[in-house]
Symmetry: none
Subunit: 255 residues, 2 copies
DNA sequence: ATAGGCTATGACGTAAGGTAAGGGTCAAGA
DNA sequence: TCTTGACCCTTACCTTACGTCATAGCCTAT
């Protein structure tokens, strides 16, 4: 009458042998007999009990509670099921919130990167920019370039235009001054100012040999509804700045 | 610049000190410095990183994965979020199924007791039965009475009739014999037999002060669609038995 | 100097098993 | 009768994300 070995029972019920061992040890499902060699043998009654255990397990009841349900005469099954249902619904609600958060975050992320990568080509021949980008990525690594891009994006359109303009003026003045004394205070001031701007544009850490990790809190907190992105979306020629920064860095290194 | 001790940071971020210890050991969030005494000190940068960690933790990402997200430049955040969303939706689907199963089970359970409560009044004035039931519930507790009802339901109609008949005969014979010696072996035999039957009807444990819990397998498997309840549905006067059992118990107690 | 508050490390426990390690048992074929 | 392969046993460590001690060092105010 006790027909099932662990293997057979496990195959029958679709659980692992280890699970049966565990259930045995914790008293949730004991074999009806043990052979003298210590083998576990289960009968039909145990199969039925296992079915019940699995039923409740499927419902995500913890094993301890299943044991109570099956063994405690005073257990109110209906109440337990209703409680459990409530808990499940709460979990579902939580998941809904999480999914909503993820979706919002995804929208923000996609809008940002999509828009940028397209937008940044604005006014510059496409292949030239791609060349700059590729060059910069080879030199600094993909991640670094993307971080610089993020930094750049954090500036408003106006700020960006201002800096770009000043940078151009400085470059022009430098090329004029270069005909004179390259160590003059005016030249030094120009270089320093130019360096300052580039540092700011690239996140301020480019001289360390690696870009400081720039986590834009905004993108995280969007989902939070407490913060909204405040920065405008400067549509500018990213590649130029990357190139500038790279060149500058190389120059500083070689000095 | 490194202002936060473990306590302060934990208070600030709303996590336990233990959590910070753990994050440190696993490399998820290292303090910026250690004092010579080994105390951890965190700066603003670490606070920011902790915020990020908590953001992803809120989304139910495992810590290992968070570490990858934050440290690996080549990590595709969008992809990860989309994967995670899919996983969450799957979990939600599963919960929906579970809730459905629970609801079906609850309906079945309730239908059963409903049906019974109606059926059991068969042949007896309604208000009388309700009085018995109420009395028994006060004395034994609602749960207990319901368990007795379950036990009664587990007998077949024929069995039930047989026991009822014998019970009536015994009662009659007792009232006849009571005119003689109340300690005679025949009286004792009658009482014993009567007791035996009542015990069986009430689940065999009424003398323990609590009724043995009677699990009907069928009710669980309804939701499973593989099993259907096999027991007949004895339409009998439950209240009488409850009353009998209660009286008997009280008598035994007072002796 | 001592009390009380903060800190450190280490270890154990949780749920539900997975994954060996190391070693018996059993039935069938050679 | 021996061996092989399939099956079985127990013990024990691993997993997640911490909570909860235990023991001990550090720091500061009175």
């Amino acid at each position: 009458m006790d027909n099932y070995s662990v293997k057979k029972l496990s195959a029958l019920a679709g659980v692992s042998v280890r699970t049966l061992h565990l259930y045995d040890k914790m008293g949730l499902l004991k074999p009806s007999v043990r052979t003298e060699a210590g083998y576990r043998l289960y009968g039909e009654k145990e199969l039925l009990r296992l079915q019940q255990v699995l039923f409740y397990r499927e419902l995500d009841f913890p094993l301890k509670e299943i044991q109570i349900i099956l063994d405690d005469p005073a257990f109110d099954l209906v109440l337990a099921l209703e409680e459990h249902k409530k808990a499940l619904l709460a979990r579902k609600e939580r998941i809904n919130t999480l999914v909503g958060t993820i979706e919002k975050t995804l929208v923000t992320l996609k809008n940002k990167t999509m828009l940028r990568v397209e937008d940044l080509y604005d006014g510059i021949p496409r292949e030239k920019i791609e060349a700059y980008r590729t060059e910069a990525m080879t030199k600094w690594g993909k991640q670094t370039v993307m971080e610089v891009e993020d930094t750049l994006r954090s500036f408003s359109k106006e700020e960006m235009e201002l800096m770009k303009k000043e940078l151009n003026e400085l470059t022009e003045r430098l090329s004029t001054l270069m005909t004179g004394d390259p160590a003059s205070t005016e030249v030094q001031a120009c270089i320093a100012r130019r360096y300052q701007i580039i540092l700011r544009l690239t996140g301020g850490k480019i001289e360390m040999g690696k870009l400081e990790y720039f986590r834009k809190l905004g993108e995280l907190y969007v989902a939070d509804n407490r913060y909204t992105p405040v920065n405008g979306l400067p549509s500018m020629e990213l590649a130029l700045f990357i190139k500038e920064a790279t060149d500058h860095y190389v120059k500083m290194q070689s000095q």
